[in-house]
Amino acid sequence: MSKRIYLDHSSTTYILDEVYDEMIKYLKTFFGNPSSFHSFGREVRKTVEESRERVADVISAEPREIYFTGGGTEADNTAIKGIAYANQSKGNHIITSKIEHHAVLHTCEYLEKKGFRITYLPVDKYGTIDIDALRDTITDKTILISIMHVNNEVGTIQPIEEIGKIAREHNIYFHTDAIQSFGKLPIDVNKMNIDLLSASSHKIYGPKGSGALYIRKGVRIEPLIHGGHHEMNKRAGTENVPGIIGFGKASEIAKKDMENNAYKGIGELRDYLQKGITEKIADVFVNGHPEKRIPVILNVCFKYIEGESIILKLDGKGIAASSGSACTSGDLEPSHVLFAMGVDTALAQGTVRFSLGKKNTKEEMDEVLSVLPGLIENLREMSPFSAEFEFPREAGPRVKHKH
């Protein structure tokens, strides 16, 4: 198993050694409750606050604008519900996009049941949201715009600086789910006029169960979790100390990596893999924006076959990737992102996302490229579809697409 190849970093990452080393001190030796008054508590509080600085640094925020959460999903929920409930008297309209993560979409759908009106902005074929549609859809009841920075399936980068400007002009709060971009792309919450931003530790080589919400100072939210006075009364519950410490260290390293242009090399590997796949395999379609795309993600549709079966075959060869197919998630329909981008649904069922990380090598890409063509051919042989027996045309208008 030691020769396995991991290409699912956008789902979760391993923990870097430096992160691990710092964390385990707070599992073993420094176990105090940071809210405690005695020495066991104080020695922990200090490092928690250092972690807050490290996280803040990544996005040019102030430490006191960072609130630790139990993960990225909780951060998204806190931001969106928190702003919605705190501003109900001002309006009930929220603008988001069709390609958000479920943490945002399902939260918005929930708010619809609670009387909010949600606009789900369309995207073009590259998965970029329609800025004009955004402008047109703003009303005097609009209280929040929530648009992700980088899409987790196809990697397309959204024009958040432009969105921030529009939001600011209209005096509307702007939240961005930056869970895929935090620590990978430069972000400046002030320049970009971001009021709230979600981040998650386990996407940047930190531990799972740890996230953060940036809330611009002065912006009021209704807390999601009530209880003690933790996190400046915005998120109750004894802090996940090792998780916070690990997230802090991972943030510090991520910032250095960005400064050292570490993602350039990863992007070259990704492009190498993309080139190899498209050259070696017929009927392959790359999803996402050709340039405005995060360098770690490669999303590909393999025509005539289904994604889960590809993932299973790859897994049999020790290669881990993920699928945008319906089967894997237990839903009946495939990726809402590809659907919003106008990708044919049958084609979308054959999607694989390769997401690269810091330690992937060219040798690993070569291994994938040597294994993948045969495996795709094998599955295509099993498939009733081919250039001679094409996918049936999608019949008529489809029922409402469940996210």
Binding site: S309, C327, M382, S383, P384
Partner: protein, 130 residues
Amino acid sequence: MNYSEKVMEHFNNPRNMGEIPDADGVGLVGNPVCGDMMKIFIKVNKDTEVIEDIKFKTFGCGAAIASSSMVTELIKDKGMTIDDALKITNKNVIEELDGLPPVKKHCSVLAEEGLQSAIEDYKKKKQKNG
């Protein structure tokens, strides 16, 4: 979600995969839009109504491919008549596969339907041809 060893074995070494060019009956069920489509071909002995050959082609996940493989194996190994074959249900397929994850049960239903659809096609053709 976890597949049984049996499912994986059939997925990796599917039995009876392919087409029968001059099949007596062909069933086509499912929809690629929903992630699964199965095509089942049968060759039937006109006198004994025994299914003498059966093959499949499947677009779908691991469970769909393994179910196709299993249902064809069940038929072929036992030399079943079409009447016996019509008694095969998705439950049999699941059992023989040592179980399927709950979200994958529909794949075994598809296998049952694919087989039935091929037999229906055979019957229809038989009627037509006298």
